[in-house]
Symmetry: C2
DNA sequence: AAGATTCGGTGACATTGTCACCAAACGATG
DNA sequence: CATCGTTTGGTGACAATGTCACCGAATCTT
């Protein structure tokens, strides 16, 4: 992947005017970052707005009590809205972004971003749509954290993390961070799922045996 | 309050170029809405972006299980970011905005908003700062809902709702919606605060007796 | 092979959420 | 004023979840 013409690969950017795409291509740098890197976090504000070309970034937060929770993920074709937000508002991050895979991203300088927002209605719509989606997703997350039962949330998360595969490489500890709960809660719930024959467990992995049953629980609303 | 020159009254807008302020003043309509009105919600998307000149709007969400939770409030000088978001992203609202007081607002048509974002760097900064603040506040709320103890959250909320006064006109039910919990939980916790001599209760009101003690609990982080 | 670390299991208990009631206060109405 | 319905808040039992203090087994390091 050379990075040339990357604007054409994503629906949100391909509809930009040719000269707008040209500015993006000319004035941004394509960078590669290895998995595990913290690309932004407290005391580490990037100079540029990142547009993710390949890979995924996990955004999570650590509370003052030491509890962690995953807020969302950024995938290829998405911009890091929090980066954008903090670039523009001069605020400290309250969250950190960790590369879950090796990633490739376009680094767009602040001034270029501002110029594009001013010049291109399509780019404005892209940016505001990203903000909007992020906020409404956070609304849904608040609803889930506040009101959804843990078994439903865990079933939901297992389906989401499986990505169509039947085996998930993760630990109880990592799952507890995904949902903002305690490791013991995950252990008990997975035992219950196993007792029902919906999953099988190994050290560091969970195998989905009955995806339909899990999806049924996840789909329930109360 | 005539509404003339309202742009000058708010720090975020007063620094706009005079011609930008002129566009805002000329192309937006100042409207008055009585307390209790739902200014936006599912199936009720406003045509305009609202900029609040006076009063406050409570934004809350009802889950599919019927549980309610207050997400945030919009006060004078703030724009309704969710309105903005949905104007620009064509999405359905997942939340509703209810006037807590009689309000006065400037209704800015979508096209005018877009024009201002394109023309004025100061306006862009204002809008993105509002989005950024909203998102980081939602991060804090997720952290609080997921990890903070209920007594701390309630003490915090009582201080916030008091607005410096020593008497709060509210019900246990309303407080439970503020925190996304059950009425019984609020009742028990308020009884405990009363037992400690921190508050006194009347039907439909809570009187703060020992604000310092409440603030101390609210300030604790674990 | 030995020691350290990670991973997961377990029981006891505290906190919070849910449910099914109840009674008192309040408001509307005749 | 008397009555009725609604709102508000109190209560106990129980379920779900969070917290704490452990433990042993698997894995990794050296």
């Amino acid at each position: 992947m050379t990075g040339q013409q990357w604007t054409a690969r994503f629906a949100g950017l391909a509809r930009l005017a040719p000269q707008t795409q040209q500015i993006l291509l000319e004035k941004s740098a394509v960078i590669d970052v290895p998995a595990g890197t913290t690309i932004f976090g407290p005391g580490n504000s990037p100079e540029n707005m990142l547009f993710l070309l390949d890979g995924s970034v996990r955004v999570q937060q650590t509370s003052e009590t030491g509890h962690e929770i995953v807020l969302y993920r950024i995938h290829a074709g998405q911009s890091c809205v929090l980066t954008t937000a903090c670039l523009l508002a001069y605020e400290d991050y309250s969250a950190e972004g960790i590369c879950e895979t090796d990633i490739q991203a376009a680094a767009i300088p602040r001034a270029v971003f501002d110029e594009l927002v001013a010049q291109s209605k399509e780019f404005r719509d892209f940016v505001f749509a990203a903000f909007s989606k992020r906020i409404t997703d956070l609304f849904l997350m608040i609803d889930e954290v506040a009101f959804q039962k843990m078994d439903v949330r865990l079933a939901d998360k297992l389906i989401a993390l499986s990505g169509g595969q039947d085996s998930i490489a993760t630990t109880h500890q990592k799952l507890s961070v995904e949902l903002g709960t305690a490791r013991e809660v995950i252990s008990r719930q997975l035992q219950e799922f196993q007792r029902r024959g919906w999953i099988e467990q190994g050290r560091g992995c969970v195998n989905l045996i009955n995806r339909t049953a899990l999806a049924g629980l996840a789909g329930q609303q109360h």
